[in-house]
């Protein structure tokens, strides 16, 4: 899906737990997620901390979307 949408000319950020698979399938902008059963959250955290965690992932993805890339890039900072 990542590749097909990019082929249509839209930039895509792949938020994904298993970054190596994302690299293998050819995503260009990759934001690491938390864990396979809960990619965008963490049930071990309090509600407030989890909300902050989720917001940060989305913000990182939005920033990645606006970043020019020339090779497969993992936004893990």
């Amino acid at each position: 899906m990542v590749k097909e949408i990019e082929r249509a000319g839209l930039p895509v950020v792949h938020i994904c737990t298993v970054v190596p698979i994302s690299l293998t399938v050819g995503a260009n902008r990759i934001v690491p997620a938390i864990a396979i059963p809960h990619p965008l959250g963490n049930p071990a955290l309090s509600y407030e901390d989890e909300k902050l965690l989720r917001r940060n992932i989305v913000l990182k993805a939005l920033k990645a979307l606006q970043t020019d890339v020339h090779e497969q890039t993992v936004f893990d900072k």
Binding site: T17, V18, I21, T24, I34, I36, P37
Partner: protein
């Protein structure tokens, strides 16, 4: 560490007044067995049935399959950490009721439990159509949480196998096989000119009913470590895995791991089989990185020349498999991988979710997506209805006449990634 496995060949299983083995026939007292496994208030009933090879019988949904083994000599007891204390196992003598198996079934726990057919097409695809199966159908209390349900049924299976195996304690085995692994440095000294080979044994630990235990420890909480191969034969590793019917390792398969047995077969002749590295398949990327770093580090530390790596399950564990392969290869150590495939119903899609150039020697247990037809059986132990919802099934899988059309992944043990079945493929 030296273990003598005494196989007592069981050619038939029947109900009887007492539980005993006589002339190759295993007699089970229903009452004695029920007494041995009952008592968990999370289960409202346990029914016992027998399924023999060739019968028109379907068992589903199947959770685990367990071989009855009893420790006759040596430290510890079978299934340390669950049934026995956590003493080190794997030495002395163990008797095996070879040809008998305990199967746990009943109301579905998860969504990927399996089917065992005792005859017809399905029987060709599962190794457990060839065993005489003592089936325990467990019914949970209403609203029991899934992980509690899994645990309760797992313990019933382990208790049943342990109880039944006692019948073989004082029987003279029909066949004795001896397996021995020396302490590392002695073993290396003994065959200085043979390549040193180990087995990297990946255990399914994704959580949420995908769990494996080592001496009672949930293997997702371990870092990779070493184990003597014979410890595995005494139940040091067991399944708490209610998913991936076709390519998980039921406890039976751990006890009989063909990679371990076959590595022993040519040990001291073609190579020096020095031991087993166990590792896990966790759901956090950092865990995958750490564990694969650790297997590579241990492989280097042991001075290995080559390893066989087996996967359990599929999907994201494909990445653990590739990470192990890549990092161990980078140490200058040869790797062979054993896996299975999800290559689509026509077999044309990419087989694994991940790939790497260093994975250039791979053995497959078959394509789990292939569609098969399972004829109706006269007798059903358990329930047919989950056929549409277990992984590999779809709307309409279960037909009105009781036959089933589904992907191969519904069959217990069909595409074993430790080679505990007959399916494979070759490239030409």
């Amino acid at each position: 560490m030296r273990l003598e496995l005494g196989n007592i060949f069981i050619k038939d299983v029947q109900f009887g007044d007492t539980t005993k083995v006589l002339n190759g026939v295993l007699y089970i007292s229903k009452q004695e067995l029920l007494d041995a496994v009952s008592g968990d208030t999370r289960l409202t009933s346990i029914e016992i049935d027998i399924a023999k090879p060739g019968e028109s019988t379907r068992i589903m949904p199947v959770k685990d399959v367990i071989e009855p083994r009893v420790k006759v000599e040596g430290s510890g007891g079978i299934f340390p950490g669950f049934i026995s204390k956590v003493d080190v196992v794997g030495s002395g003598k163990t008797n095996v009721l070879k040809g008998a198996a305990v199967v746990t079934a009943g109301k579905i726990v998860g969504f990927q439990e399996g089917i065992i057919d005792m005859s017809g097409t399905g029987a060709d695809y599962t190794p457990f159509s060839k065993t005489n199966n003592i089936v325990l159908v467990c019914t949970p209390t209403d609203h029991l949480q899934q992980h509690e349900h899994e645990e309760a049924v797992r313990m019933v299976g382990l208790k049943a196998a342990t109880f039944i195996a006692e019948a073989g304690r004082n029987i003279t085995p029909d066949e004795v096989k001896v397996y021995e692994t020396l302490p590392l440095l002695d073993g290396v000294k003994k065959y200085p000119n043979l390549p040193k080979v180990a087995y990297v044994y990946m255990l399914q630990t994704q959580g949420l009913l995908h769990d494996t235990y080592v001496y009672g420890v949930d293997a997702k909480k371990i870092v990779p470590t070493l184990i003597y191969p014979t410890e595995v034969m005494d139940g040091a590793i067991l399944s708490g895995n209610c998913v991936s019917a076709c390519d998980k390792n039921p406890t039976y398969n751990h006890l009989n791991n063909p990679i371990i047995e076959d590595l022993y077969e040519r040990h001291g002749v073609d190579y020096n089989f020095v031991g087993v590295i166990i590792t896990n398949e966790n759901v956090y990327l950092a865990d995958k990185e750490r564990s694969s770093n650790w297997t590579a580090k241990l492989a280097e530390f042991l001075g290995l020349d080559a390893v066989i790596i087996s996967e359990e399950g599929f999907g994201n564990p494909d990445t653990d498999l590739m990470m192990n392969c890549k990092k161990i290869t980078a140490k200058g150590i040869k790797t062979v991988l054993v896996t299975d495939e999800y290559a689509g119903r026509d077999g044309a899609s990419q087989s694994l979710a991940d790939a790497d150039k260093s994975a250039d020697a791979v053995v497959t247990g078959g394509n789990a997506n292939e569609v098969i037809q399972l004829p109706a059986m006269e007798k059903v132990i358990g329930y047919l209805t989950p056929a549409d919802t277990i992984a590999g099934g779809f709307d309409g899988s279960l037909r009105p006449d009781g036959s089933i059309m589904a992907e191969l992944q519904v069959v217990t043990g069909a595409t074993s990634e430790i080679g505990f079945n007959k399916l494979s493929a070759t490239q030409y």
